[in-house]
């Protein structure tokens, strides 16, 4: 039994680490621009799919070139999303921006469908597929890559927002845009950095997990949904809350699949999320908001 639970936990953390990176992306964009970006899952897909496309075939690039290029491409898509879809709709209501990002996610999926087709693709494991045994539980080296990579990225993001000039400037934009502008912060540039960073996290998540999970043009939908759930669970707009929410959601799913019912595991995840919201209407680590009168 204990062996089983150890396995469920290891699985849960791996899956949760992916959710955490997507949730972190949601959080950063929301903080910077008050937009819930439902195209966040598509960043994950674009990162993975473009890396696969660039390294495929005989004339394919080496992975050392393809992976960075895929990341740059995804960042470019993120910045373009801000420039051409979010920025022109300045002052639109929250629901309108939600529909815009949903439109963007459908659009990106459509482009991926045209460019790369409908097939399912895989990336090679970074360092072999020999399972690592921990007691009776097993892990793949790639699981360690996912956990380690996610941890490093989270620490990096934390450091960026708390210790760099630009990170603090983005936070200032999110608090009060006009005030930020008045003290000489280039709000437009900060927005681009926030969207680029968010896309970067998505691409990294895609590259890290695709060896285990495979990918296809429509792989972003479910990840976007789970990432949003995780961000809400942790408290929307709190980056570290989003990370905690992601890992927690992964654990809940894995433990309920193992211990209760695999058919209803997603339902159990959402029921727990609802219960949390009923008792803490701003998520686990979110600040209660007062309505402005």
């Amino acid at each position: 039994m204990l062996d089983q639970i150890l396995q469920f936990v290891l699985t849960g953390i791996t899956v949760g680490a992916t959710y955490a990176l997507v949730a972190l992306g949601f959080s950063i964009i929301y903080n910077a621009s008050d937009v819930v970006n439902f195209a966040q899952g598509e960043f994950v897909m674009i990162g993975a799919m473009s890396a696969i496309a660039m390294s495929a075939g005989e004339n394919g690039l080496s992975p050392f070139l393809a992976l960075p290029l895929a990341i740059l491409l995804t960042i470019g898509v993120g910045i373009m999303l801000q420039r051409f879809a979010i920025a022109p709709a300045k002052g639109a209501s929250v629901v309108t921006t939600i529909i815009i990002t949903i439109g963007a996610s459908i659009f990106l999926r459509g482009v991926a469908l045209l460019l790369w087709g409908k097939d399912i693709f895989a990336l090679p494991h970074f360092s072999g597929e020999q399972p690592i045994h921990i007691g009776n539980a097993t892990l793949l080296p790639q699981n360690l890559w996912v956990m380690g990579g996610a941890a490093l990225l989270v620490i990096g993001v934390h450091w960026f927002f708390n210790h760099t000039h630009q990170g603090k400037a983005i936070l200032a934009c999110s608090c009060n845009r006009t005030a930020a502008q008045l003290v000489g912060i280039n709000v437009g540039k900060m927005m681009m950095i926030a969207y680029g960073l968010s896309a970067f996290l998505g691409a990294m998540a895609g590259l890290l997990v695709t060896p285990i999970t495979f990918t296809s043009y429509d792989a972003g939908v479910m990840l976007g949904l789970k990432g949003f759930s995780a961000a809400i669970l942790g408290g929307f707009g709190n980056p570290m809350g989003a990370v905690a929410g992601g890992v927690l959601l992964g654990l809940i799913e894995s433990l309920s699949a193992g211990l209760i019912s695999s058919g209803y595991k997603d339902a159990i995840g959402f029921i727990i999320l609802l219960l949390v919201l009923f008792f803490r209407p701003s998520g686990l680590f979110g600040k209660a908001t007062a309505e402005r009168v």
Partner: protein, 323 residues
């Protein structure tokens, strides 16, 4: 009755279309779907547009109505009309029960909670296969008959769906103009301010939430009898999103806007099929562009400048969009 002139125009359009184009696929087949979507969108618009409460799980109520009708008529041999009533009662009770805790939430948290509810409902439809038929769905659902008049052609369904849609629009317009309608709009503006004015915000929100759910349930039952086959795919999270899109696309807080959004979003994919592989991309692009350039919705967005031109000479006061 100047304020209802829009309604008469809509009614005339619904009545005239099948007379001018009898047996036209776009009228009697796509049209029926558009009318169904319009019923759902008008109901959801009461909640979203007027009470300002977002719901990303509306397909769940649509599904509960549809499945109650389907299960009672196929498994227990009930009369379809009785099944519809039970469906509405059941959906109403469920909506009432969940409304209290859910409507305490705000903004994105409310969006998440309703989204979660919708997904849970869909998972139950898929997993409780012995009862719901699982992902393969439920078939052989009998059609409705009205005073011995069996609804067995697309045209007959068009009339029933059209009448129901007009009824829904009529009720929605009247609610908005009533005392509770003003309470609703106050809610959208500011809840605290509404409370200060003596409006029972919780009761008002619960009321409109349940009403929207009832409308969806009725639409679900009709859908179930019209299609004679239903499966969980028709009640998924994607359909909830589609409904929200209809409301926002037409223009929030405009009943006609909701109808317009439903019609546009039903016909758009139908027209885009000629683009084959490009369909998904074009659909996404159109959705994005319309919302970027007409953030108030197409109907409201295009109507405002037009109306302003008409009223310019009469009054200098800027009008408020929508009905």
């Amino acid at each position: 009755m100047k304020r209802l002139s829009g309604f008469y125009l809509l009614a005339a359009l619904v009545v005239l279309l099948p007379i001018i184009f009898p047996d036209n696929y776009y009228v009697t087949v796509v049209g029926v779907t558009a009318l169904l979507h319009a019923i759902l969108a008008v109901g959801l618009n009461l909640l979203m547009g007027y009470a300002g409460q977002i719901s990303l799980g509306h397909a769940a109520f649509f599904g509960i109505g549809a499945y109650t009708s389907a299960i009672l008529t196929t498994r227990y041999g009930w009369d379809p009309w009785a099944a519809i009533v039970v469906g509405i009662a059941l959906t109403g009770s469920i909506a009432f029960l969940v409304s209290r805790p859910i409507l305490r939430l705000k903004g994105h948290y409310l969006a998440m909670a309703t989204l979660g509810l919708g997904i849970i409902a869909n998972i139950v439809l898929v997993q409780a296969g012995d009862f719901t038929g699982g992902p393969d769905g439920l078939g052989d659902i009998p059609t409705l008959s009205l005073f011995g008049w069996a609804l067995d052609t697309d045209l007959r369904w068009y009339w029933v769906m059209g009448a129901t849609m007009l009824g829904t629009v009529w009720i929605a317009l009247n609610i908005i103009d009533s005392r509770s309608g003003r309470a609703l709009r106050a809610l959208h503006g500011s809840e605290v301010a509404a409370e200060m004015m003596g409006i029972n915000t919780t009761a008002t929100k619960t009321g409109v939430f349940v009403l929207a759910a009832l409308t969806a349930s009725l639409a679900g039952s009709l859908f179930s009898h019209q299609q004679s086959f239903i499966s969980p795919d028709s009640f998924s999270f994607f359909f909830s999103i589609e409904l929200v899109t209809m409301v926002v696309l037409g223009g929030m807080a405009s009943t006609y806007g909701a109808v317009f959004g439903a019609v546009v979003l039903t016909f758009l994919p139908e027209l885009l099929v000629v683009f084959e592989d490009f369909e998904v991309m074009i659909f996404g692009a159109i959705l994005m562009l319309m919302m970027i350039f007409l953030p108030q919705g197409i109907f409201v967005g295009l109507q405002t400048p037009f109306r302003r031109r008409l009223t310019r000479r009469e009054s200098p006061i800027a009008d408020t969009p929508g009905e």
